[in-house]
Structures are given as structure tokens and as C-alpha cells.
Amino acid sequence: MRNPQLNAAGGLQHLLTIEGLPREILNEILDTAAPFTEVAEREVKKLPLLRGKSVFNLFFENSTRTRTTFEIAAKRLSADVINLNIGTSSASKGETLLDTVDNLCAMQADMFVVRHASSGAPFLIARHLAAMGYDHIHVINAGDGRHAHPTQGLLDMYTIRHYKRDFTRLSVAIVGDVLHSRVARSQIQALKTLGVPDLRVIGPKTLIPADAEGLGVRVFHDMRAGLKEVDVVMMLRLQNERMQGALLPSPQEFFKYYGLTADKLACARPDAIVMHPGPMNRGVEIDSAVADGPHAVILPQVTFGIAVRMAVMSMLAGG
């Protein structure tokens, strides 16, 4: 089966998932992003690459932060940006996902940035666009259910490359709610593709997928053992609704065993970096002393995120 996000020539038509993307395309995205980090430091923070293009932020699930970073990225490329919080409009009036898409196509959209609570929703949209012959419209997955959040995965790769240079010698640990995390899946696929030899996930069994080894990772339930000598610690956000119930007894107990503290971080290499996709739950998955400490690269992640999203948008529609 052809990867639905590649066009017939093997180029990027959509960005739906990291899975199946060759290392060359990942590197191309990261290389393209590098000069964009400087745009932010200029007085005039704009490039004309997407001038005249319409980017629709289609958010079926609320997320102010992710939507804002996409909006900034599109505006820095001179695109027109239209924000639609569908969670509070069409869907509640009974319109189907594909009806919404058809309507926006009729408004001459050039790009959809899609956030949806169901895994695979952006694939449905991409398949529909292909069936309707809208080959000029591109889809970026801004997070679908538990499945993927590819731009987050890519900005994490940019951050790791910035601080660590060579992926092929790294030990990386992903900590927390892997089961429900679209971020973790995109990180794992990107790290595998870029050649990270030692990839670990750490968490209680209730938050690790049944067949995690099939994703190419080693599973640890003891956080100290899992963090031993790692170069990169990638923390995941724990959703409020999962903090107590059948998955976990309490946020306090989670913090005690899986929260990142300076004490546990000492198991990692002395020059380890600590990442978090935000927004953080201080005192649940990460201690403030670590979040604000010298190992943390959490704010640079945000800055790089805009450059990486500019890179993806310009590669898709800037040509």
C-alpha cells in the first residue's frame, strides 16, 4: 500500500504521520527549518513563501497552544490564516467531518491543519481530497486521537539535533502515558527513522500499549533503571482525566514513581537534556526544579516548533 501522504513522485503531499517517511525527508524538513529560526529574530518576521495562500486551522478538539503555533508559522510565511474551532460550531450542528471539508474546499482552501479527537481523521480527509481530485490541497495533522502528532515529533527531533548533533549514538527515554500519547508515537517513529540505537519507554503497565516492543522500544517500569545513562529524557503530559481511576490511583503516587525529579534525573548522563511537549503539570509528571533547571530545553522546543512548522508548510505549499 502506498503511503497516502506521499505523491506519485515520492514527495510530500500531506504530513499525516512520521511513519513511513524516509530519513531523507525528515532531514530535509529539519534542514529547511534551520534558517527559519533566524526569521524570528529579525525586526520584520515575514517571508513571502505562502503569500496568497489560505491556511485553514481546522480544530475539532480545542487546543489554543498548538493552534497558535501553526497560526504564527503560517503568518510568518505571509499566508492568510482562518481559524475554525469546529468543536464548538458545525459538528455540534450535526454536519459531518467531510461536509465541513467540502465547504472549505469550496472556499478555495490551500491547506488544512487538522486536530481531531479520533485516530486517523486526517487520513480520512486526505483520502477524500484525493477522491474529489483536490490535489492542490494539503493536509497537516496537528494531532489525531492517540495516533500521531508529527510536527511535535519533528520539532523534538530538531531540538535533539540542536543539542546532541548525532542521533546514531543516543540513548533516549520517553516517560509517562505512552498508551494515550500521539506525541510518543510520532517521537518513537522519528527516533527510529533517524537511527537512535537505544530507545526506551518508561511507565506503569496501565499506560504502556499492549505490544509496545512491536514499536521497537524497550519497556521499563522502574524509572531509575530506565533513565540510566540516557542522553535525552522526553516527558509526556498526563491528562487530568487519567490521573485517578482505573489507570492510576492518584497524581501523587504517579509523581512519586514516574515524576521527573532531580534525584531521578541524576541517573541519566550528566549532560542529558529534558524535554516536554507542554503544557506541563508541575508536580505530577515533572518537578519544578527540573522543569526550570539547567537540563531543561522546554522553551527552546517551543521556539523551534514554529520554525519546523514553517518548514513543513513551505515544503508542502510553497512551491
Partner: protein
């Protein structure tokens, strides 16, 4: 109407027959096999040269969507699909709207089916009122109205005491109970097998233990109540092992598998293909191999289409939100032939899974070409092909994971009680 089916390859699995022989039909029954009965004057001669003549297919599960779900399919559309698929007898599950829990609904369905006169319809009655798993239905009344068994379709009976009572009550009258083993809690939010593909795609999983835990309950209650239980749509190797062990310990139990689970596994979800959204979910490749072997060796009793027409609006949704089920009446024969060919089985063995074996489970005198039997006959071209496209499917449900496939075998004639219910040209229309 007297019909002479000439020059065909007659396969009658019930009688262990596979030989060239003519078939003679009169007054809706098989009048003779091989030699022409005395004084037989055919009104019509069907030239079956190069074709297989076998009993009309018997399908243990085909949703007709009536009453109440006519926007998904109608009795007319689905019985036309049955005839086109060579299916002459089918059981329909009780999950209509309202469910088949009152004799009047069953009588109406039987009446409408008789009028359509394209296939024999055998309703499975609801085991509990509105399939809610709380109160028993009037099973004896429903049986008199035409129900051949009782079941819950995919609706659970959460309360095990109610389940025990329902099985006891059915056993009182000797009614068979057809149930699917699926633990409602372990399958609650799940949409795919809890394996490698669900992990990769971030789909909420249904572990195989959702099947085996429910199965364990059903097998123990079957033993205690003595009810005749049929386990519908088994999906895992572990479930099959349990059924084999239960039989060895003396529990009378039969089971079936769907054409989907015989040919597909979790990998076929691909990139969120909603046509592969099924319940029970497609499981691992090892599970599929076990089911394929189990059917060939006879530890699985029958193959069914699990025909479930779903409208496009309910399918063209993100994977988890799409309604489960696949259209299959017209694919039962081709997919049975594909499996039989791949397993290198004798044709009679393959056809037994979709004729004589399911007829035995249904408890009907179908699935045979013995003289005197009702003339329900399927005549197909074993070297022909069935191309699966939306346009060619007669079912209103165009939802099948086999869209775009070319499958072996092509139904040419379907006879129902001696009349021609379906006929097609030798080569597919261009």
C-alpha cells in the same frame, strides 16, 4: 416448471458426491439425479457444461436491516443480493430496530420474505427484550412465529444471572442459542485487536481475552444448563482451542467464522480503512491461520458472510467512529472458494462449510441435492471471476474490505424451490 440441468459437475457435500451428472427438477423439488425420471419433459434446459451444480448456499448470518433500518438496506435489496450470491437460505440476527423480540415482528418479516421469494429467511429471535439483557423474551411464542434460534447479536447480557436464566429457559424447550463471545467491559472502548497495529495507529484495543473470558462463561453455563449453544463469529486461536477442549469434555457446542476473519487480519486496517472496522475485530495473523486450519479440519463447523450493510454516512468517518460491519452475501461463495483453493481442499469439503454444515446448525432440511429435497440449487462457474466493485454489488451496502478485489468463482444460476431466482451472463458485463 420442470428444469433439466444438463452436463454439470454435481457436488453434493452431504452425500459425498462430486461427479458429472444431470439434475432434474419438478414441482419445486429434486426429481432425479443422473438418469432422467420417467416421463420427464423439461420446460427449460440449463446447459451446465463447465459449471458446478451444488446445493443453494446457507448463510448463518445476514443482516437484512428490516424492520427499521431501511436507510441501510431493504429486504428486497438484500434478498436480491442473496440470490446473486447463490444463497438460498439465511439466518438474520435480531438487531433490527425494534429488535426481533415480538412475534408480530417476526411474522411480518417472514411474510415479507415469502413475498420477495428470493431466499428462505430464518430469523434469530432476541434472547432478551429489546436486547437489553434484562428480561426474557417470549421464546416459545417467537419460535411459533418462525424463530429458529435465539441470540443477542452484538448486544451483551451484562448480568450473568440473567444469562443463566435465559439459557435455562431456552433449554426447557430445546431452543438453540446463538451467541457471540465478547466481554462488554474489556471491549468497551476498543475498536481494533489489542496488538501491534492498534499500538502503532493509536487505536483503543480489544484484547483476545475479551473473547475468551466471555467464552469461558458461556461454555460453563452451556454445560450446566444443557442448552444447545452455537458460538457465532469466533475470532481468536485461543477461543478455538477452548471450544475444542470443551467438546472433548462432552459439551455440545458448534461455532462459525466469518469470511472476513478467514481472509483478513489486523494489518488489513492499513491506514485506518473503515471497511476493516469489524466486530469482533480482525485479529493477528496467527489467529487467522488458526481459524483457516480450524475450518479445514472441521473444528469450526461453518463459514458465514456476517453480511452487514452499512450506509456511507456511517462508514465515511474516522476509524473509531465508523459503524462496524461488512457487506458479504455476494462474497460468500468466492471467498469460500479462495480459501478452499489456498488450502488445497476438495471442492466438496469447501462447499460443505457453506451448505450442508450450516444447514445442520440451522436445523433445516437444506444443503442437499438428494431426490425429494427442495430444489434450492446454486450453479456456478468455478473458473469465472467475481470482481468486487460498488457498481456490481446488488446489496445496498457497498461496504466491504474486498472492494477492488477479483475473486474466484462466479454464480450463474440460483434456483429457489425450483424457480429461477437469479441468472447471469457467462462473462461479466463490460
Amino acid at each position: 416448471m420442470k428444469i433439466h440441468v444438463r452436463n454439470g459437475r454435481l457436488v453434493d457435500p452431504a452425500a459425498g458426491v462430486d461427479r458429472p451428472a444431470d439434475l432434474f427438477i419438478a414441482a419445486g423439488r429434486i426429481a432425479g439425479v443422473g438418469a432422467m425420471p420417467q416421463g420427464f419433459a423439461a420446460n427449460r434446459v440449463i446447459d451446465a457444461t463447465g459449471l458446478v451444480v451444488c446445493p443453494g448456499l446457507v448463510d448463518l448470518s445476514a443482516r437484512l436491516r428490516e424492520p427499521g433500518l431501511e436507510y441501510k438496506a431493504t429486504l428486497e435489496s438484500e434478498l436480491a443480493a442473496a440470490a446473486a450470491g447463490g444463497v438460498t437460505s439465511l439466518a438474520c440476527p435480531p438487531d433490527t430496530d425494534p429488535p426481533l423480540d415480538e412475534p408480530g415482528l417476526v411474522e411480518m418479516l417472514k411474510h415479507r420474505a415469502r413475498q420477495a421469494n428470493a431466499a428462505h429467511v430464518y430469523p434469530v429471535g432476541a434472547l432478551t427484550v429489546r436486547l437489553e439483557g434484562e428480561r426474557l423474551t417470549e421464546m416459545a411464542e417467537l419460535h411459533e412465529a418462525g424463530c429458529i434460534a435465539f441470540g443477542q447479536a452484538l448486544a451483551p447480557v451484562m448480568d450473568t444471572l440473567v444469562l443463566l436464566r435465559a439459557l435455562q429457559y431456552a433449554a426447557t424447550f430445546g431452543f438453540p442459542v446463538w451467541l457471540q463471545a465478547l466481554d462488554p467491559w474489556l471491549s468497551r472502548d476498543g475498536v481494533a485487536h489489542d496488538g501491534a497495529v492498534a499500538a502503532r495507529l493509536g487505536l483503543p484495543g480489544i484484547p483476545a481475552s475479551a473473547e475468551t473470558i466471555a467464552l469461558s462463561t458461556l461454555l460453563q453455563l452451556a454445560r450446566d444448563t444443557g442448552v444447545r449453544i452455537h458460538l457465532a463469529r469466533i475470532s481468536s486461536a485461543a477461543a478455538l482451542d477452548m471450544i475444542v477442549a470443551a467438546r472433548a469434555s462432552g459439551i455440545a457446542v458448534s461455532c462459525d467464522v466469518s469470511v472476513n476473519h478467514l481472509h483478513l487480519c489486523e494489518r488489513d486496517i492499513g491506514y485506518f480503512n473503515p471497511h476493516a472496522r469489524l466486530l469482533p475485530p480482525l485479529r493477528s495473523e496467527a489467529d487467522r491461520e488458526a481459524l483457516r486450519r480450524g475450518l479445514a479440519e472441521g473444528s469450526i463447523d461453518a463459514l458465514c458472510s456476517d453480511h452487514t450493510p452499512v450506509d456511507d454516512d456511517a462508514k465515511q468517518l474516522p476509524f473509531a467512529e465508523a459503524e462496524p460491519g461488512a457487506s458479504g452475501l455476494e462474497l460468500l461463495l468466492p471467498l469460500a472458494l479462495k480459501w478452499g483453493g489456498e488450502m488445497q481442499l476438495p471442492l466438496a469439503t469447501t462447499l460443505a462449510c457453506i451448505t450442508a454444515d450450516p444447514a445442520r446448525i440451522l436445523g433445516i432440511a437444506a444443503g442437499t441435492l438428494a431426490p425429494g429435497a427442495a430444489a434450492d440449487v446454486c450453479i456456478f462457474d468455478p473458473d469465472g471471476r467475481t470482481t468486487v466493485t460498488r457498481e456490481r454489488l446488488r446489496s445496498q451496502g457497498k461496504n466491504t474490505p474486498f472492494l477492488g478485489s477479483e475473486l474466484p468463482g462466479r454464480v450463474r444460476y440460483t434456483l429457489l424451490g425450483g424457480h429461477l431466482a437469479f441468472e447471469s451472463a457467462a462473462s461479466p458485463p463490460a
